[in-house]
């Protein structure tokens, strides 16, 4: 039995239901036979529920365990979680902290996390932040 597989399929079922239930309350079709706005989401959600049920049974029978990590993956897991967390945090702070200081800290942190030397880290972070800022802000006129 693959627990991760079952978890993933359960999430798919939840998403399908999340789209399907409100769709029943959408307006109905027109008199000429054109289906209403709820028709397609209900149709697609139904197929997802059907496919999820098939996969659910497959995972129940399956001996293959997803997320059964090898040594390398076990070792890399903290780094992965920290990187994913850092990216999510950066995207949130992007709204409140100016681009240059935030990006500098973010890049220095990632380079440190990936084990680069301090000298490389500082030089690379400063130059790359400057290049990104110049290209997007000055050349492409994106308001950073």
């Amino acid at each position: 039995m693959s627990k991760a597989g079952l978890l993933f399929v359960s999430a798919c079922i939840a998403v399908a239901l999340l789209f399907m239930i409100p769709a029943f309350k959408f307006p109905g079709g027109t008199v000429d036979g054109t289906p209403g706005p709820g028709y397609f989401p209900i149709l697609v959600s139904s197929v997802i529920l059907f496919l999820s049920a098939i996969l659910f049974v497959q995972y129940l029978r399956d001996n293959k365990k997803y997320f059964q990590q090898n040594e390398t993956q076990k070792k890399n897991l903290p780094k992965l979680l920290i990187t994913a967390g850092a990216i999510l945090l950066y995207t949130i702070l992007f709204m409140v902290i100016p681009f240059i200081p935030l990006t500098l800290v973010f890049m220095v942190f990632l380079n440190w996390l990936f084990g680069r030397t301090w000298r490389f880290n500082i030089i690379f972070s400063v130059i790359f932040t400057g290049v990104i800022y110049y290209v997007f802000n000055n050349l492409l006129h994106v308001m950073l």
Partner: protein, 494 residues
């Protein structure tokens, strides 16, 4: 006259500059294992929106062609394909390097990749226009079935189990329903957020799935200590002789035809085309024993196949609006962002732009030829760039790129969440391509399905009376059940 203008347009200084920038960026992206053509095009797409359409597309076409070509460089020098499409180039390319003919192998890669790109561009010129004219006869029912056909074909060749592919594809379809519905303009799943009225933005999702998702996956699976990739370009013999070129011609002609057809099939990319072509050429060869041992024919066939796929993929993308592979799916998204809808109408409403695109494809290959033959000695140095540096660079490009599309924070958060979703899909062995395809085809499928049903007062008979629908539906069903049938037949044989 139109064609002359299209070619002259490509040589406008600004357009040509972006084409060259695209080729150089693509060379870097393709050479480095781990950075794929899909990721490269996805990451550079937001930048292209800030340019004129012809400049933006010149850059993307340059990246697409160049990354596929340069994927062969690392395949030849260090036995690691730079992009999945170059996997067959490792079979003979690396053997040639081991024998001391790396310079010859790199030049074969450049010349035959360019040849593949040019020949498939000719196919694009000859087949895209008739196909688009034929597609003009399509009504809502045919379009709905065509969208379903595109999705099922991508699922069936996506490598994973068809059920997994279908599930991901249908999730994409489901997410495409967010926003105003196309017929009654009714708000669906917008959470009262005006930013969601137009639906979920396709581009940040794609950047997240293929960019951040891939980086997270590499962080999770890569070895702690990177082994340095030692490569050098050497060998007195640099080019094939005319006699050798002639000897290799039949196998390469066959590989081109196979690859253009494979490219036109939604979802079947360069990796499938080059492996099929290499295998077929080996079966046809008088010296099959040389294949895998440094065969010049084997290497040339795999190189020509990679880039010949592009013309096929672009044919279905431009004339039918159905992407041939993940990169063309992204290009469709870019065309839509520019306000153009790929499909037969594009050939009527934006004919000069279609011609410009084809001209860019041809000129990009010529630029690759010159660039490739003159820069062989650089690649060993590029291969020394550490993966960790690339991760940081790509992550930053993804984040800023996603924001740059609309200056929207919603887009960055969408991109980050899509990245985590992309990582989960990779770890769980689910294909990512069908999700993007589902999101792309969702609106086409839904609006045409509902319009078709309105023509018959809600009766589904319309899908079983049109010959085009019947053919497409039959192929779709067969493509989905074929893997199961094949499995059973194999079991019986055992």
């Amino acid at each position: 006259m139109d064609w002359i203008q299209a070619f002259l347009g490509v040589f406008q200084p600004q357009v040509f500059l972006y084409l060259v920038i695209g080729v150089v960026s693509g060379a870097l992206i393709g050479t480095l294992p781990g950075l794929t053509a899909t990721m490269g095009v996805a990451v550079l797409t937001p930048i292209s929106f800030w340019l004129k359409p012809e400049c933006g597309f010149a850059m993307l076409i340059g990246v697409y062609n160049s990354a596929i070509w340069s994927g062969g460089i690392s395949a030849i020098l260090i036995n690691t394909p730079g992009t999945p499409a170059s996997i067959a180039s490792t079979f003979d390319g690396y053997k040639l390097t081991q024998k001391g003919f790396s310079a010859l192998a790199l030049n074969i890669n450049t010349i035959y990749s360019v040849l593949g790109g040019l020949l498939s561009s000719l196919c694009l010129i000859f087949f895209a226009f008739p196909l688009a004219r034929f597609a003009l006869k399509f009504g809502p029912a045919e379009y709905a079935v065509l969208a379903l056909f595109g999705l099922t074909m991508m699922v069936s060749v996506s490598g994973s189990s068809p059920v997994k592919g279908l599930l991901v594809g249908f999730l994409g379809l489901l997410f495409s329903t967010v926003g105003l519905d196309s017929i009654q303009a009714y708000k669906r799943y917008t959470l009262n957020n005006p930013a969601l009225l137009d639906g979920l933005n396709f581009v940040p999702m794609m950047i997240g799935l293929f960019g951040i998702g891939e980086i997270l996956y590499q962080i999770y699976t890569s070895e702690a200590k990177e082994t340095s990739m030692v490569a050098e370009v050497k060998g007195a013999k640099q080019f094939l002789t005319l006699k050798e070129f002639g000897r290799l011609a039949p196998a390469n002609a066959m590989a081109t035809i196979i690859s253009v057809i494979v490219g036109a099939i939604p979802g079947a990319g360069g990796d499938i085309a080059s492996i099929i072509s290499w295998g077929q050429a080996k079966r046809m060869s008088k010296h099959p024993e040389e294949y895998g041992e440094g065969s010049l024919e084997g290497l040339s066939v795999s190189c020509i196949a990679n880039n010949a796929v592009i013309g096929g993929a672009m044919t279905t993308m431009l004339s039918l609006g159905i992407p041939g592979d993940a990169v063309t799916a992204i290009l469709i998204g870019s065309l839509m962002m520019y306000g153009m809808t790929p499909g037969p109408q594009l050939f009527i409403e934006n004919r000069p732009f279609v011609l410009t695109l084809i001209a860019q494809l041809i000129v990009a290959n010529l630029v690759i030829l010159i660039f490739g033959l003159t820069t062989n000695r650089i690649y060993p140095k590029i291969l020394k760039i550490k993966k960790t540096t690339l991760w940081v660079v790509v992550a930053m490009c993804c984040i800023v790129g996603a924001y740059a599309i609309n200056n929207s924070y919603v887009d960055i958060i969408t991109m980050a969440l899509a990245g985590v979703f992309g990582f989960i899909l990779r770890v769980m062995d689910f294909p990512q391509g069908p999700f993007i395809l589902g999101m792309l085809l969702g609106k086409l499928l839904e609006s045409n399905l509902r319009r078709a049903l309105s023509l018959t007062m809600g009766s589904y008979s319309i899908f079983f009376t049109s010959p085009i629908c019947i053919v497409l539906l039959t192929i779709s069903v067969l493509s989905l059940v074929w893997p199961a049938i094949k499995k059973r037949l194999k079991k019986r044989a055992v």
